[in-house]
């Protein structure tokens, strides 16, 4: 299938600082892609470019359109939550639903109402009377009721407690996501999203440093809890990272065949968080 988002040589400078430096990537439809990178690596700029919210150099096609020139059409099929918990303070729950129903051709009012019934939100409640978690619930109710082809989430759960965070991703997976939808998500809480992601994009200093599906990650990267007597042999295979757990060295290998590693110790697929830390080594130095 052709790519839903296709970016070639995205570059964006703020003064002399490059927020995006010749970044290229593709996102295929029906995937949940995690765009993951350290602070200031260009995540938000990438998303803003995809959403047509900023100017940039390079080629970018989202649903076959250039977001710079076709933003208005694009927004019928693209939805996003940028910046957590920012809805206008004077907005009432029922007005919010009426408004989105009024301006969005793909909004399903019943779906939004059904979702809101499962929360503590009441139709007359104003945003200024809501907790941060409730605002996100309202926003999610609005967004999930939109039958969009692409949903972009920029740190959607920042500042929420663990109950709201878990619920957020659960709703997203159970009630929203299907093979016709694509989600691109950035977050620092990697542990909480890694089980829902199908693809990973690592970004560092405005460059895409890793683009792979979770299956490919499992094939390519292996973590070995190395038996002490094999340590030297393991180190000779040039692990990309090494740490020590209970006195045993744990090494992360990139592209070393599993058969070769089996003799060294216990194998497992690394967590995204470990992979991230290993591949971003030295970012802040």
């Amino acid at each position: 299938m052709s790519a839903l988002i296709s970016a070639k040589g995205l570059t964006k400078r703020f003064g002399k600082q490059a927020a995006l430096d010749n970044a290229s990537f593709e996102v295929r439809p029906g995937r949940i892609v995690g765009l993951i990178g350290p602070n200031g690596s260009g995540k938000t700029t990438t998303l803003k470019a995809v959403l047509g919210l900023c100017q940039f150099e390079g080629e970018l096609s989202v649903l076959g359109m250039d977001p710079r020139s076709h933003r208005d059409e694009l927004m019928r099929d693209v939805c996003f939550i940028a910046d957590v918990a920012i809805l206008p303070r004077w907005l009432k729950v029922e007005d919010a639903i009426d408004f989105v129903a009024g301006v969005h051709p793909r909004f399903d009012r019943e779906k939004a109402q059904r979702y809101i019934e499962h929360t503590k939100l009441s139709p007359n409640m104003k945003v200024k009377a809501m907790s941060k978690g409730m605002i996100v619930q309202l926003h999610l109710a609005l967004v999930m009721a939109i039958d969009a082809k692409l949903l972009v989430l920029d740190e959607p759960t920042l500042g929420l407690d663990i109950l709201y965070r878990k619920q957020f991703y659960q709703n997203l997976l159970e009630d929203y996501f299907d093979e016709n939808k694509t989600i691109v998500i950035t977050t620092h809480q990697i542990e909480e999203v890694e089980h829902i992601l199908t693809d990973l994009l690592f970004i560092r200093d405005g460059k895409i440093t890793l683009a792979a599906s979770m299956d490919e990650i499992g094939e390519r990267y292996t973590e070995v809890m190395v038996n002490p007597h094999s340590a030297a042999a393991a180190a000779a295979l040039q692990p990309m990272a090494q740490r020590t757990v209970f006195g045993k060295p744990v090494m992360l290998f990139d592209g070393v065949p599993r058969q070769q590693l089996e003799t060294l110790g216990e194998l497992r697929t690394p967590s995204v968080a470990d992979l991230f830390v290993a591949s971003m080594k030295g970012t802040y130095e």
Partner: protein, 326 residues
């Protein structure tokens, strides 16, 4: 069109206090005050000043000729009772426009609005339309009702005092035509207020903070610099012209009726109108008022101003589309 309807509703939700309750409250206070004064037996009357002279038709002894004049005057001139509301319109439109594109950036809800399939052009036009059409209509409606209620209360008082003029009032066609004649001033207001609304929307979408200071300070600063340059180098800059055609049009044109200051002929005509009023009756005086209003805004000056307003609104659209918040 449907989107526009929701955008207008949206503005009402956000500015309910300012756009709905404020005019209603002012109208209610005026009515309440009038009724109390009348109930206390205060001497009520309709004092209406023409620019050149004054009509007074006070109560009690209403001779036939006088009562006819009184009915005629009140039937065409009663909207003037609501003058405070028209003055409030200037401030409502001014501050609404100034906040229209700034507030959504300040409370950071801009990205939420931008996540919906509503173009920047439609959004900005909805805000310009609020300032130039919807808010004036709301104020006009409130003003009409207020002045009508006070007028009728006055007639009730007169009836109690033995001069029942209701029949005469209702038989005056002008009395029924008044709302339509008032509506005919809406396009006048729109064209006249465009440069101020355009400038304020532009500042509203551009300034990072302190919108009021930018909106008012920038033209005044330019004026001060021009005055300085004029003093220092005698450049022959016509400061009066600059104040009247630039500064005032950027800041003061939301005040209804100020279009008369803009044109010499209109000013003369309005001065004349007082005489017309005395000699030929109030109807012709008010006719003159409506006619001159229309003539004023169809002048080249005003049309250039309106075009500048449109250009500044286009600038505001562009800024909303491409401005990147840090």
């Amino acid at each position: 069109m449907n989107t526009m309807k929701w955008l207008v509703k949206r503005e009402f939700w956000e500015h309910k206090g300012m756009l709905l309750w404020a005019p209603l409250a002012i109208g209610a206070v005026m009515i309440l005050f009038s009724v109390i004064m009348m109930a206390k037996g205060h001497d009520v009357g309709l004092h209406m000043e023409g620019p050149d002279g004054e009509f007074t038709s006070t109560t009690v002894t209403i001779a036939d000729a006088q009562s006819r004049k009184m009915v005629e005057l009140s039937a065409v001139g009663f909207p003037a009772i609501a003058a405070p509301l028209y003055i409030s319109l200037a401030f409502l439109v001014f501050f609404y426009s100034l906040g229209a594109l700034y507030d959504e950036r300040k409370d950071r809800s801009l990205l939420f609005w931008k996540s919906l399939p509503v173009s920047d052009t439609t959004t900005v036009l909805s805000k310009a339309g609020m300032a130039l059409i919807v808010v004036p209509l709301v104020v006009m409606a409130a003003a009409y009702v207020t002045s009508l209620v006070i007028l009728l209360a006055l007639y009730v008082v007169l009836a109690f005092k033995g001069a029942n003029l209701f029949g005469a009032l209702f038989a005056t066609p002008q009395f029924w035509l008044t709302p339509i004649r008032m509506l005919s001033l809406l396009p006048v207001y729109l064209l006249w207020a465009l440069p101020t609304v355009g400038w304020l929307l532009l500042v509203s979408s551009w300034a990072r903070s302190k919108v009021f200071l930018w909106a008012v300070g920038a033209p005044l600063l330019v004026l001060a610099l021009l005055a300085w340059a004029e003093k220092a180098f005698a450049l022959g800059v016509d400061l009066k012209w600059f104040v009247k055609h630039i500064v005032f049009r950027m800041l003061g044109s939301t005040m209804p009726g100020t279009w008369f200051f803009g044109s010499e002929t209109a000013r003369d005509a309005m001065q004349h109108a007082g005489t017309i009023g005395r000699e030929q009756g109030p109807l012709l005086m008010f006719n003159e008022f409506y006619q001159q209003s229309w003539q004023c805004v169809l002048s080249t000056d005003v049309l250039i101003g309106a075009a500048a307003g449109v250009a500044m609104i286009a600038g505001a659209v562009w800024l909303r589309r491409w401005r990147e918040e840090g």
